[in-house]
Each structure stands twice: as structure tokens, then as C-alpha cells.
């Protein structure tokens, strides 16, 4: 591929609207812990969908468990549907994880990494806010407590996901649509091409 052509593709990618092709979002069918098939991105009349990309053994993600549960509880009566997306684990492992960490958020198994590919999520924990038609309204960290591997602030200074959710629910634009999450990489068989640029590195 010529460098020029590659350059055009990169420009096209960065100009692409932050919306997932409707056909693809409808097509995402995942199993929940009971084996029931769920279409998390289809429009069921929900205002907002939040995806939490998690793994059972990422210590950075695990430390977020209480905050994730609080967010789920806080927004559940405001038309926000939350899912925890696991790629690498079995439903037995996820059930144990959810019980141990008191994670009260419905889990979905995504062994094909469909949602990570569609949204551009690359690490756990990473959060993604989607509108009723699958448009991405926010993707990135839950808050800024992790500075880098091994360096964690004692308190977060900016609660990015909550700020974004509050803006969306108030009908306002999200100030910071993309943030760089820090955590354990989602292991893609082939490196994904992120459909959306990260604006903050």
C-alpha cells in the first residue's frame, strides 16, 4: 500500500462520524450469563447504553468494581442501561468474579470481541456511552485515578464517565468525548484498527 493511499485512509478514518453503522450494531448478538441472547446495541427505547469492558484478573479494573456498581445504581432510573463486557472468560469465571467484587451489572460474553472492535475499546477497564441508535457519545476511562501503570492517585480528580453521562442526560454535548484509559489490554488476535481517534494520549 502506498504511503499516500495510507494517508488518505487515515484522514478518512479521522473524519468518520462517531456513529456505528446501524446494520452492524443490530447484528451484535451476545450471550448473557444464563445463555440468553441479547442485542445490546439495538434500540429498545433506552436513552443511553453504557458498556464497561472488563476482565476478571486485571487489578486496575477490579479496583473500579465499587465505582462501577455505584454508577450503575445511580443512573439506572434515568434510562441508562449498563452492560459489563467480558471477552476472555467463561460464564462460570464471570459469575464468580461478579459475586466476589459485588458487581451488580449485567454481564455479556463477547469472545469474538465484536463490541471492542465496533467501539474501538482497547483496554479494561474502559467505558463507552452509546446513544439509542448506536452513536458513540463517549469512550475512555471511568475517571483519572490511574496515572500510569503502578501510579494511582489517592482520589480521582476528574470523573470523566459521570461527567459525560450527566451531559448526555441533560441533552448537552460531551465536553471530552475520548479519554485515554489505563488498564490491561484487550487481547485481539490481530491488532484492531481503531475506528475512532483517541484525542488524548
Amino acid at each position: 500500500m502506498s504511503p499516500k493511499f495510507l494517508g488518505i485512509i487515515i484522514v478518512m478514518l479521522s473524519l468518520a462520524p462517531a456513529q456505528l453503522p446501524g446494520a452492524e450494531t443490530e447484528a451484535v448478538r451476545l450471550k448473557d450469563l444464563s445463555g440468553k441472547v441479547v442485542e445490546p446495541l439495538a434500540n429498545h427505547g433506552q436513552k443511553v447504553t453504557v458498556l464497561f469492558f472488563l476482565t476478571t484478573e486485571c487489578p486496575i479494573g477490579n479496583r473500579y468494581a465499587p465505582e462501577i456498581t455505584r454508577i450503575v445504581q445511580h443512573y439506572k432510573d434515568q434510562g441508562v442501561t449498563c452492560h459489563a463486557i467480558y471477552a476472555h472468560e467463561t460464564s462460570v469465571e464471570i459469575t464468580k468474579h461478579q459475586r466476589e467484587y459485588k458487581l451488580s451489572v449485567g454481564a455479556l460474553l463477547d469472545p469474538e470481541l465484536n463490541l471492542a472492535k465496533l467501539t474501538g475499546a482497547t483496554v479494561t477497564p474502559e467505558a463507552c456511552i452509546l446513544g439509542p441508535d448506536g452513536e458513540i457519545l463517549y469512550r475512555g476511562r471511568i475517571d483519572d485515578r490511574a496515572v500510569k501503570y503502578g501510579t494511582v492517585r489517592l482520589e480521582p480528580r476528574v470523573r470523566d464517565l459521570r461527567l459525560a453521562l450527566d451531559a448526555v442526560l441533560a441533552g448537552k454535548p460531551v465536553a471530552k468525548k475520548f479519554t485515554q484509559p489505563i488498564g490491561c489490554y484487550i487481547s485481539f488476535p490481530d491488532p484492531p484498527e481503531s475506528p475512532l481517534p483517541n484525542q488524548e494520549k
Binding site: E57, C58, P59, G61, N62, R63, Y64, A65, P66, E67, H88, E100, Y101, K102, V147, K148, Y149, G150, T151, V152, R153, L154, E155, R157, C184, Y185, S187
Partner: protein, 497 residues
Amino acid sequence: MHLVQKSATILSLCLFFQPSQGAEKGSPVTFSKDIAPIIFESCTTCHRPGQIGPFSLTDYKTVKRRAKQIVEVTEERIMPPWHADPGDVVFSNDRSLTPQQISLFADWVAAGSPEGDPSETPPLPEFHGDWQIGKPDQIATMVEPFTIPAEGRDIYRHFVIPLNLDQDTWVKGAEFLPGDPEVVHHILYFLDTTGKAREYDAEDTKPGFGMSKSNAGFRYIGGWDVGTQPSELPYGLRWLIPKGSDLVVQIHYHPSGKETTDQSSVGFHFSDEPTSRPWSIIQIPPRFGELQGIDIAAGDKEHIEKATFIIPEDCEAFAVNGHAHYLAKRMELTATFPDGSTRCLLRTTRWDFRWQEDYTFEEPVKLPAGTRLDVLISYDNSASNPNNPTIPPVGVRWGPSTTDEMGSITLAAMFDTQDQKMATHEALRIFLVNQLIDRLMEGKFGGRNKQMVQVRKLLQALDLNQDSQLSPSERIPAIDFIRNSDFMKRFGAIGFD
């Protein structure tokens, strides 16, 4: 060109021309040949089931899944944990990877993380189960379990474990066994012969007692942190547990996201033989800097504390460690020998309170009488320091809580005679007395304590030229008086007696 420079140049040329292992043309980096030997040697000790590492790195599948993260954490030298900068001394327990090893990970990922020939993968080293250096002679377990909440700030807590030894006992090694490896980060061991620790424990409603109680009266005997391989004391050295002592363990817990309990143990290996040589610790400044006058202004990005101690008797240092709290960034210990030559014995430019490491010298460092030891510790009390426990920053002084500061570097050193050791302790005590005089003259220590107010008045009377400082000659009677007064006892032991 100086010899050192010259050899450094030759070394860097060698490194430059040396093809990185396994990266020659036609031989791609593979897991089995290149990666597995490094991982098994440097990572798997902790990253295996039931151990302290958060996930396992035991085979191709588990390592491949973490490949990208491994590249980042090794390039940034976050893992394996090792915080001493490369310098003038070689440490026998150095866990860091070589630049060649680190670049192999990146090459491997760039090549698509291939497995290679599985038959070439070395076998996993034989890891021990619970106790790494054999079955201990005595196992001291926390009396009751301690509950660690799902989230919140890290917890630093002392637990008192009676050892019930009816005679003085020599110890050649100790090993720590975390109850819940997911939440235990590091521990420090102390011995208490005063009964104070039991009192503190009884006053506190939860098991153990917190950091607001000073451990200054206890005798520090060592520590353990994540990834440390337990070993016996080197050179036939032993330490003594006086009969009737209580073990005090200070444990650092980091909440993991789920509520859990911990009941950790310490295993002791006893020795019939006494220590081969007298040894002790030389801490500069002594008492973790209690009388250093540490006073860091809010927002100060580079606050520097310095202390200098002249070694009074020949000794040989065999290990070093530093201690400070969250604000410290950089620390350094430099020895200037009587012949004028210098050697940096510890330098870290990325101090991290979460890791309390002991650095063991590959070869003992001879410190002849007259050797000058210079300690420098730098603190960052700005809001841009992500480790700053108080945002917005506030002024910080010396204190035992994690939001206070401390700072000193400690050498473990052996002597030929007990007299040399005692003379070194005495010199450290005089160092502390001098610091006390300075702080009292500044009005920065003692507050309204009656005894201290009296001593301050006496010191002011000795200040004949009224310059609010005591000159070396004005100081002589003051040192003599304070040294022999009762209240120096409040600062406890200065080393291992």
C-alpha cells in the same frame, strides 16, 4: 580520557555492535527460545497461581495475551519492580532486566508474538509452595484476621504477635507469608521489648494499631515487599530476638475492589551459632529524620533535605535502603572516602513509597573511619505530583502518618569488634543531639514540653554571642548535658545493640 570514561565508551560500543539476542536475520524472536527464559526467570515467581502477581505468566498463551502490556511495563521499568538507578555499585538482588532483554519483548510483539518450536521452551522453574527457604523453626501468625475494605486509601497498620521466646534467640533468616496476596503489598518487621505495642493494640478497637502511633521505640529488623526472594542473612550474620520480645509487623494493604480479610504469617529460621560479626544499621539522618526539621511548603516542587555523617570506625556496608513517604521523588547516598574518591551507594530518581526495597551489595563496601556519607532526599509537594496525598497541597512536616513526611537512608554494616559498633552508635547519638540542639535553638521542636522548654533556656544561655545558633565551642557543654540527660531515651535505640 579517564579510565572510567574510556571503559564506558568501549562498553557502549560493544553494546552497539552486539546484535540483540535472537534478532539476527532469519531468526525471529520466539516465545520458546527468547521470551520464555526471561519470563520464567524474572516474572513467574510472582505471576503464578496463588502468588502475589495479579495474573499468571506461566506459558505461551498467558504471556501472549499480556504481550503488549509486558512491553510497556518493562520499557518504563515498572516491572520487574526495581527502583535503584544503575550506578557505582552492583546489587546482588537486582531484579531489573537488561536493555537487550527489554528490546526482545518489543521485537517479539512486532513479529506477531510467535511461539516458535514448543519443544524449545524451557521447563518452568521448580517453585516452592508456601515457604521459600524451608520449613521455619517458628511461625508467628497474626492473632486475628484484619478486614480490608473493597476500596479506599491504602492501609498501613501494625500488628503485634507475641513470640513467647523464653531465651535470647539468634535468627538467621525470616520469611513472610501473606494471608491474602491480592491485598498485601509490603511489610516491615520490628521487635518490641517495651510492651508499648501491646498497649497500642489494646487501645485500638480493631486488630492492631495505625500509623499515628510511632514505631520509634521498636527495633527495625527488616522487611519484605512484593517480589522479594527471602534469603538468610549473608556472611554468617545473625540477629538476636531478646527473650520476651513481641514481633510487630507493619503491613501495607492496597484495597483490591472486593472486601477481604488477611491473616499473614512470619516464619523464623533460628541459629544455634551467634552472629559471625557484630553488625548494625547506620541511619542518616537517624530516627527517620525526626530531628531533621523537615518542613515542606505547600506547592514546593523541589524541597531538598541533606544530611552528612562521618563514619567514626572502620566498617563494611552490605545492604542499603531508603525510607520516605509519598512526597519524596529522589534520594541519594554518596560515600567520600578518606583518599578523596567518591562512590554513590544508592541513587533513585523514582522513589515510590509503595515499594520498600532492600538493596544488597554484591560485594561488601569497605567504609574506613573518616568516610563521609552524604544523604540527599528531594520532595515534590506540588499538585502535579500524582502521589501527593493532599490536594490541594498543604505544608508537610515530619511525622509518622503517611500524610506526614520522613526521610533517611539506612546502611547495614558489619564491624570487626563490638567496640567499633558501639562507637558508631555513639557518633550517631551525638549527631542526633546536635540536630536536637539546632531544632531547639530554632524553636522548631519540643513545643511547650516542660523539659524541652528548660533545655531550650539552657541552650540560649550558652549562646554567648546571641546569634541564635550554637557555635562548635558553645555547643560542647550542651552536647555533654543533653547526651547524659534522661530525655534522650525518648528517641529509643539508635541501632542493633
